[in-house]
Amino acid sequence: MTLAGYTDEQKEFQRLVRQIVNDRDTLAAAREVDSAGCYGDSWRGLAEETGLAGVAVAEEHGGAGLPAGMMFVIAEELGRGLFTGPYLTSCVMASSLLRSYSDGPGRAALLESIASGAVTATLAWVENPVSWLVSDTVATRAVSTGSGGHRLDGVKRLVVDGVTADVVLVLAAKEDGDLGLFAVGTSAPSVTVTPSETLDLTLRLAELRFENAPATEIPLTAGAVEALERTLDLARLAVAAAQVGAARRCLELSVDYAKTRHQFDKPIGTFQAVKHMCADMAVAVESAWASVAFAVRSLESEPERLRTLSPLVSAYVCDVYRAVTRDTVHVHGGIGFTWEHDAHLYFKHAQSTAALFGTPAELRELLATRVGLAGAFTPIGFGDPA
């Protein structure tokens, strides 16, 4: 892809996903506490229909064979409709981690079942819920059963889609103290899932308690913490793409409203106070899109850049999205503060996704470290071809 816009193939897929999202009335689901959203049978149907669940899965494992970059096109469209479903956790995070950092037996089967939509998976790494960043202090223990399997004990918190996932990949300490990743089926009686109440009803969080839960170690080609951190870098970019899609929708809502709502006998969009707010939103959305697109393109050519680009783009887009949703509520006046209007759905989505996987301040600190503010300052490459 280029920063000029999507390729024809991407645009075609974009249209397809937008159609699906429109057909499902995802915003109604986002307004409803305990909505089924796009989980379960609905998700399986969607996966069969489009192949989007296999976006990060290689074709030999039943993946869709979609070109790189499509993951973010889909994320942007789903974000636009505040789609409630396991795309981020199962198709982006679990799939990418397995594809990039695992090579052992069982990997192919799990990837295949994720790609078909039959199974959804998520990752669980947080124990102390004061931060979403990966910590290497892990209390959850995995004990070998001697027959190749493990038993897991511990509590994981802030698990996204923890209520609906069939399989959870859990960060745990082995008997030798090394950290590993373990696949646990959530239907086992030894796994207790407690949903958390969330500000944004599209964000499904849960606490997962493992009591001697049967687990299978996922053989990793990198350290467990590194594999998780790099997967999070990718996930943040997918979240940013979703945020851009949603922010663009908010801009459209605001501009439409400013054109049609009349006060003092003219559209409120004639007033510079409103006009300038809309212009600022437009610049914010366009620059946010260009930032995501630059990072996505780097993913293809120079994947190491994601270490700096991910926190940079994520922090920027989180701030953009929060500002755009704030102004969207404001441009709509009183109606923007109602439950009935869509503005609050985006507003809450912006607030909660800004906290997701690291706050903007935590991400800026991550960026400061990775760009070498105190060590060897290494700006993101400038000499790449035009």
Binding site: T2, L3, A4, G5, V255, A258, K259, K266, P267, G269, T270, Q272, V274, K275, H276, C278, A279, D280, A282, V283, E286, S287, W289, A290, S291, A293, F294, L312, A315, Y316, A361, R364, E365, L367, A368, V371, L373, A374, F377, P379, I380, F382, G383, P385, A386
Partner: protein, 388 residues
Amino acid sequence: MNPDEERRLTEFRATVRRWVAENRVDGLPKDGDVWTRDVGPEMAEWLERLRRRGWLCLHWPVEYGGAGMGPLELAVLDEEFAVAGVPRPMLGFGEALVGPAIIAHGTEEQRRRLLPRIVSRQDVYCQGFSEPDAGSDLAGVRTRGIVDGDTLSITGQKTWTSEAHGADMCFVLCRTDPEAQKHQGLTFVLVPMTGNNVEVRPIRQMDGRLDYSEVYFDDSKASIADVIGGLGNGWRVTMTTLGAERSMGYAFRHFEFLDEFRDVLAVVREDGRADDPLVRQGMAEAYTLLEVVRFLGRSRLDRLAEAEPEGPEMIMYKLLWSEAHRRMGEIYMDVVGPRAALRPAGDDYSVDTWHDVLFKGQAETIYAGTSEIQRNIIAERLLGLPRR
């Protein structure tokens, strides 16, 4: 981009890299913008080497003394110059504003006569647009132009004229038909600055510098042959000029921003503040902003590379970079601590990088169309919000 085009650009990149390695001049200033006649001996030598190579006024057609480069070659050349640490000269208003106006609206005779003089720096231009009562509302200019045979007599006051003391010529927007409607009856004409009853009074700016002047024309003469676009057509020519002004800096402001960032970072480290979490937050935000400016600039280049029509980022770029730069100035003043209140020793009002960025940010959000004018343009032209 097709493979042939990509190969061609890769070869061009190698050519530029080789040429710069063989022809670079030591001791050059960082900033390549050449606003005045007098430049240091190093810069003069660098300009001469570039002129002989044909690498000045890069986007102008070759037949008028330019290099005939497309946006992609320009991007490659700019990047290679930046990586090599040599400035890429931009010949001030002549290259940025007058040239594009002459190319778009001048006669063939004017193009062949006037453009090469800009490339050879025989004509250094200053801008005669703003007046005390005509700023954002530029069509309100009152400077008079009276036609008298083959000459035009100019009388009036211009202001915020950059580098007027170092210019040979001024491009003046004047009113030649006071009876016509506001946007009509205006004429765009090139006026000699020397021996022509032109008085230049420098204005001292907040940064202590004297870049801008008031310029008084008192029955100053210009040739009708130097009217661009014809009498009474000045507004149309001005629109082209303003369009070119908005795209000034093209898509490369981030190079300058990164240099400033490095300067401030060096001081932050020297002062042992690079581990301070608050300083790190500020510097990370400044770095993010300069990269985002680069990303939006890059999306503009990509659109040109795909031969797509100009997109929204073209109009948005000026607002984004100027507002981002103003914010960088605020951040830098915060992170340098007490150094914010101090200046380097010396007789002149010299300032440090953080002060310089702070001051620049105040000017940049005003010149070349204030941020408010930019927001109006974005809201009305891109978003389709009603004018009134």
